[in-house]
Symmetry: C2
Subunit: 403 residues, 2 copies
């Protein structure tokens, strides 16, 4: 991985050439499967996937598989197949002039792009019907290349360093919000970018959440595994100002977005002594996580992973505490990479089958009324032979916070 | 403004009743202007505008002007006109059963909602044509109520406190990123929520930007007034790791999102002595800002404000440094409130005419090659008689950073 100052500011595609080619081949494979012959992409996550950078403009994959870049900003970008435009209405003229091939069976990002933008792009390209490029891109992105897994592993190492500092950030009398702010600061000092990309509109959060005491049982409108009331009805999720007191668990679930990729990791801390039930269920969360890490091999159904997790929680007599209590999540894990919620999803409803290179966050958590949440979350990659490769390696046991 | 712990967790509409009514009246007025008889809203900013909270679900305004809430989560929400649903396909049945009036001339959020979601909602409501609810809502939100201006004023006071601490956060040898992280921390400790809502897809940023030295002249793909290379091609905006050195200006442009509303404020700091040109242009930025604050009265054209700013920059012989140098922004100010980029926009191209209650961030900035950016930004409200009411009141002069 190059340091930012070594990256060519003007080169359109800053991924290594082979990596760029490998990703394009994946995209073309899923285009063919979906019956799309061309695509016009404008979602930042997809632009980052194909080029390694964010720019203002569009990526066009023509009917012959050739890729072109239509760039609004920055104007310094150059390279093979780069065309500068003011607006999308300029694209078709360039396609014709350069012989790039008019779009046929065009895919547009129907899940990530606004209705108004999709209609404008379709009109600009002269098409009146189009398919879903988001399905293609999410399928392609669900199986990570070796290079991508390495990027995520780098996030994991930095994320581990952040977690190793958490016990040192605590002091007696601190609130969950104050602890979260110190964790955010350390994450940023480790190089965290401070934003989290997501698919769809059901998630808003700062860099993660800290849940302590009763707040762990507060429902949230967002699609996260657990909730929390937050500090404002304008952002009802996560820490709510609870002062950390003996007998509370403190669950820290943050995203480590350091290089455009990310890890998702949860660890649980204890203030003073926790009830035995909390200690037992924390251990059970670790057991479920490790069981799934071992089971999750190529060819395995995601629904079977979810069923196994639910079975283990039920056998321990805690089905009503698993993945929430007042409000329960319907999944125990999710794909991630450039976005927090990529494919596949570990739920009973999904029919996905694991492939080598899937990267999953596995988060079997329990909510214990009045105590808080316990459990862990690891980000892991499906390998070709054997258990998953764990990319988040902070110690998993309950750590007691002492000031 | 109530403290979060005093807010009723279960009440759907937590705005004061009169405020809720005033906002709805504004929305109905712009619906009538746009020829829409009903609307279905799902954008979080719009839900927050109408209810004062974020929830997972939809707001339906029926043909008779009655408002209904279709809620997926949290399940604890209750109140008049609250209906719990699992999916949008449940809505029409409830509309019929409760006699809420089937949608006619329906508005959907075509700019803020994905193509796939718009098509799903249209099908669920049994309509095959629809209008643009985003135009309606952005027009309604462009003119703030007295209550909203008070919320923004509260943000301004907290934002001022953050800026008063900036000189104390600096130490010699610090990088722009390190300074930014300490400013973020202080913003969060003052109650900053850590996220910024925006309209459209052209903005990604953490809580703001710090620009120092040459980095102020680096172009960015995003629609911000100035750029900056950022620390990663995955988020190319703002601070890039420049070590702060004598002779550099340090422009701090952050968003104060404390309660769902926000202020936008920029102040410039100096490390050591700056060249006279930088000092002069900083003063000119203050003069332009104050001139616009004085001119911006009801009935004034936004394009005239922009022209005035450009004239003042040109008269000082600095048109090529105004609003950027390598890459120049086309606006000198923008509406804001719940989102960072609301209406109206102060640019030559806009035909908006100011109204009492518009809230604008005015940001006449200069980039001085090799030195950095200078200038200020204030968030101000248009009043009914006299100059704008300034809601950001941190000292405007260049402040020298000393460790």
């Amino acid at each position: 991985m190059k340091a930012p100052q070594d990256i060519d500011r003007t080169r359109m595609v800053i991924l290594p050439e082979q990596e760029h080619g490998e990703r394009l081949a994946r995209v073309l494979k899923y285009m063919a499967k979906a019956g799309l012959e061309s695509m016009l992409l404008c979602d930042n996550a997809n632009k980052f996937y194909i080029t390694g950078r964010i720019f203002d403009g569009y990526i066009y994959i023509g009917p012959d598989g050739r890729v072109s870049y239509f760039v609004r900003r920055p104007s310094i970008l150059e390279g093979k197949s780069v065309h500068h435009i003011h607006k999308p209405e300029n694209i078709l003229e360039i396609i014709d002039r350069e012989g790039l091939g008019r779009p046929s069976k065009l895919g547009l990002e129907l899940m990530q792009t606004s209705y108004a933008t999709v209609m404008r792009l379709a009109a600009a390209l002269g098409v009146d019907s189009f398919g879903n490029a988001d399905s293609v891109m999410l399928s392609a992105r669900a199986v990570k290349t070796a290079y991508e897994i390495q990027q995520i592993a780098v996030c994991g190492m930095r994320h581990d360093r952040v977690y190793s500092r958490i016990p040192h950030l605590y002091h007696e009398g601190m609130s969950d919000v104050e602890l979260q702010i110190e964790i955010e600061r350390v994450t940023r000092l480790e190089g965290g970018l401070g934003i989290i990309r997501t698919v769809g509109q059901s998630m808003e959060i700062n860099m993660g959440s800290v849940l302590a005491g009763r707040n762990a049982d507060e429902p949230s409108p967002y699609d996260f595994a657990l909730g929390g009331a937050g500090t404002s009805p304008a952002l009802p999720v996560g820490a709510d100002g609870t002062v950390l007191r003996a007998g509370m668990s403190v669950m820290v679930d943050t995203n480590g977005v350091f290089n455009g990729y990310m890890t998702d990791m949860t660890r649980t801390f204890a203030v003073g002594n926790l009830p035995q039930r909390a200690i037992d269920l924390h251990k059970l969360s670790c057991d479920i996580c490790h069981t799934i890490e071992d089971m999750a091999r190529p060819g395995v159904r995601c629904s079977d992973l979810c069923r196994k997790a639910l079975d283990m929680a039920a056998k321990a007599g805690a089905p009503n505490l698993f993945m929430g209590h007042n409000s329960q999540a319907s999944f125990v894990g999710h794909g991630l990479g450039i976005a927090l919620n990529e494919l596949p999803v570990i739920s009973l409803k999904t029919d996905s089958i694991l492939e080598v290179g899937n990267v999953l966050a596995i988060e079997p958590k329990f909510v214990i009324p009045d105590v808080g949440a316990v459990g862990i979350e690891n980000t892991c990659a499906v390998t070709d032979d054997g258990p998953m490769r764990r990319l988040t390696n902070a110690p998993e046991e309950l750590i007691t916070l002492v000031s």
